[in-house]
């Protein structure tokens, strides 16, 4: 039963993502511009990096013959063979440890977790064997490894398959934690991650895999890389800063549209990198707008928004005209029923409401269940 859950196959054998409605594009395409799904962006990035460097290999459950649980590694087994695209048994602790050991010896493994929920079985290797090794060995043992896979809530998969791990991994020195939003992010950040000499946790989002985004010719070039540790201002504004990552960037942009119609100009920042966190960009933005809303899907306590809030209070306290607002996942395990699930993750309305609160200081009304 759990094996079926983990492959997330709907009855009838069709992968669940195939049924989902593709979300509309978030902005108009450039004239004659190409579009690419996040899935294809990731696939092309893996393909190019494996082609460029023979020490790059992919290992994980179903990455080979199954073409990837979410088809991210489609075609790679045929192209690179079973030596470099490795189907592992369902033993995260074992294969993650082995991948880290291979990285010690100079290979550049990309480890796929079918979802990051399963990374908890391997978390000792991610933290103690990978993240800390360069420090403990004073530079002798470096670990050029990437841990990637879908993170956070999907749709209807329940409590054990919906957790966001951004805050946990991003708290650990020695790790880099990236979270792409669109296809350009996916390509540029994954290529950067694979080339990076340090362990990188690469948090994808299952619901974004099928979304199409415009992609520039520059981003399609095989040498394209995005810098690690730099956030992107997706939309400029002057009244309130909304910081988000991954899927929530899309929601933040939609919220910004709604706010614009009501006369509030929101600046939307796509973090791209959770660790290192681009405090400079966030602080500069808040010093301009004087108001901040952070958005994340994960649990609120000790979350990414909490760290951003602390950073603003430490660096830009005098610039705040309103308390920092956090929009996060609900402080409960993810429920299954559709109505409860909707309440457990941020919606666009939540972001709009919080942004308005920062502008008018209106007293929020808490919902009593």
């Amino acid at each position: 039963m759990s094996a079926i859950l983990r492959k997330i196959i709907a009855p009838g054998g069709i992968p669940a993502w195939g049924i989902r409605v593709i979300a509309s594009r978030t902005y108009s395409s450039s004239a004659g511009g190409k579009e690419m799904t996040v899935r294809d962006a990731l696939n092309s990035a893996l393909d190019e990096e494996m082609s460029a460097d023979p020490s790059v290999l992919l290992m994980g459950e179903e990455v080979g013959e199954y073409q990837g649980a979410y088809k991210v590694s489609k075609g790679l087994l045929d192209k690179y063979g079973p030596k470099r695209v490795i189907d592992t048994p369902i033993t995260e602790a074992g294969f993650t440890g082995m991948a880290v050991g291979a990285a010690y010896h100079g290979l550049r493994p990309v480890v796929e977790f079918m979802t990051f929920n399963f990374s908890m079985q391997a978390i000792d290797h991610i933290i103690n064997s990978a993240a800390k090794s360069n420090y403990m060995s004073s530079g002798q043992i470096s670990v050029p490894i990437v841990f990637r896979g879908p993170n956070g809530a999907a749709a209807g998969v329940g409590a054990q398959h919906s957790q966001c791990y951004a805050a946990w991994y991003a708290s650990c020195p020695g790790l880099k934690v990236l979270a792409p939003y669109n296809s350009e992010d996916a390509r540029g950040l994954l290529k950067a991650a694979i080339r990076d000499p340090d362990p990188v946790v690469f948090l994808e989002n299952e619901l974004l895999y099928g979304e199409s985004f415009p992609i520039s010719a520059e981003a399609l070039d095989s040498s394209f890389c995005l810098p690690i540790g730099k956030a992107k201002i997706e939309r400029e504004g002057k009244d309130v800063t909304i910081v988000a990552f991954s899927k929530m960037v899309g929601y933040a942009l939609k919220a910004a549209e709604i706010l614009a119609k009501e006369g509030v100009s929101a600046e939307v920042i796509n973090l791209r990198s959770i660790r290192p966190l681009d405090r400079a960009t966030i602080n500069t933005s808040v010093r301009k707008t004087n108001r901040l809303v952070t958005v994340e899907e994960g649990f609120p306590q000790h979350g990414v928004g909490a760290e951003i809030c602390a950073s603003i209070v430490e660096e830009s306290f005098e610039y705040l005209d309103a308390p920092v607002e956090r929009i996060t996942g609900a402080d409960v395990p993810m429920p299954y029923a559709a109505n409860l699930e909707r309440m457990a993750v941020p919606q666009v309305d939540d972001i709009v409401r919080a942004a308005k609160r920062t502008c008018y200081r209106s007293v929020p009304v808490a919902v009593n269940a």
Binding site: G97, A99, S137, Q140, P144
Partner: protein, 391 residues
């Protein structure tokens, strides 16, 4: 009681002495072959064990003695340094187990890899580490092998094929299988020895890694250093099946007298040949540690002093080699005592030098967090006071 009884070295020598009177005096530089029988035969699991006749030379036996004497001295000295509070935190000593380190080195090259847990000082030495690096690291000084930032459990010597030094019980096993994976990937015809204890032998990740190693024919040799106690828990209290060499099930195994350096050498050479052709194999080294689990453990609440002194008398690895050297007339008592004195001197000198080595610069707090830090900011305890840009 879990300890098996072994024929004593004197019983072994009783078997040898009639032949020795016919032998010429062999000089210590001789490289002519001497054949010695191991104290006990090897026991195989799903494999025919190697012969218990081991070829060695006077030179090799002398190097065993010298190396083990140095290792023994280093560990005893570490005990004193710990009690003098110059070594802090954890300190897990290897005295008693030296034969595994030297026997293994005699069978392999520095291109083969070794990875172990936290009882790593002697393995480090065997892989080419120096006494100065060892003592400096133990005392947290900048001349340490990890520049003082690792400590007792995190010694590394990558250019010598030593990948640490790991604090989490059992983690080194998948890591070691990963090293073997890389060796196979690179077609470099070398093997990895992954050392773990009888305590770690029950870890799930061992079986996960072993499954993959066997599935993919990796050149991985899993070496269980069975000193019969996982911290304070005797093997029969922790393992339903303490026949660790059999626990690989479909993976062959060999039980070895880990106090006999020649037996260890024979087993490791046999295992390397096997692993390169047929994939993983398990070696169980029947060994013993004189110290407790660590310096915080007197080592006597869960075992008797009689047991400890019994092993020291009957099975000590250095004594075994001493007796061989004397029996084969390779060296006399005084020469061997001189070697031990020399070892003591080297250790004392290294400690004196290590004591002079300074603590790392404060700026080292922030180095090596990443290979490539992109100038990202990191913080001290008071982030308004201490910040740094990661190099």
């Amino acid at each position: 009681m879990a300890l098996s009884t072994h024929r004593t070295t004197t019983a072994l020598l009783r078997h040898l002495t009639p032949a020795i009177s016919y032998l010429r005096h062999i000089s210590t530089d001789s490289t002519s072959t001497i054949t010695v029988e191991t104290s006990v035969p090897f026991t195989g699991h799903k494999i025919d064990p190697p012969s218990r006749s081991v070829d060695t030379t006077a030179q090799e036996l002398m190097s065993f003695f010298r190396d083990m004497a140095l290792m023994r001295r280093m560990e005893i000295a570490a005990d004193s340094l710990y009690k003098a509070k110059l070594i802090r935190g954890f300190c897990h000593l290897y005295d008693g187990q030296e034969a595994v380190a030297v026997g293994m080195e005699a069978a392999i090259t520095r291109k083969d890899c070794i990875i172990t847990a936290y009882r790593d000082h002697c393995i480090f030495l065997g892989r080419g580490g120096t006494l100065l690096e060892s003592f400096s690291e133990l005392m947290g000084r900048k001349d340490g092998c990890s520049k003082g930032k690792g400590g007792s459990m995190h010694f590394y010597k990558k250019e010598g094929g030593f990948y640490g030094g790991h604090g989490i019980v059992g983690a080194q096993i998948p890591l070691g299988c990963g090293l073997a994976f890389a060796q196979k990937y690179k077609n470099d015809e070398n093997v990895t020895f992954t050392l773990y204890g009888d305590g770690a032998a029950n870890q799930g990740q061992l079986f996960e890694a072993l499954n993959m190693a066997a599935l993919w024919d990796l050149p991985a040799i899993l070496v269980c250093e069975n000193n019969h106690y996982g911290m304070g828990t005797a093997e029969w209290r922790a393992a339903k099946s303490p026949a660790y060499y059999k626990r690989g099930d479909y993976v062959p195994g060999l039980k070895v007298d880990g106090m006999d350096a020649l037996a260890v050498k024979q087993a490791c050479r046999f295992a390397k040949e096997h692993a390169l052709k047929n994939g993983p194999i398990i070696l169980e080294m029947d060994t013993y540690r004189y110290h407790g689990h660590s310096m915080s453990d007197p080592g006597s609440t869960y075992r008797t002093r009689d047991e400890i002194s019994g092993v020291r008398q009957e099975r000590d690895p250095i004594e075994r080699v001493r007796k061989l050297l004397l029996a084969y007339d390779i060296a006399n008592e005084k020469e061997l005592k001189d070697i031990e004195k020399e070892a003591r001197k080297q250790v004392d000198e290294a400690i004196a030098k290590a004591k002079e080595s300074p603590l790392p610069e404060p700026s080292e707090l922030f180095t090596n967090v990443y290979v490539k830090g992109y100038g990202v900011e990191s913080f001290g305890a008071d982030r308004k006071e201490i910040r740094a840009a990661l190099p």
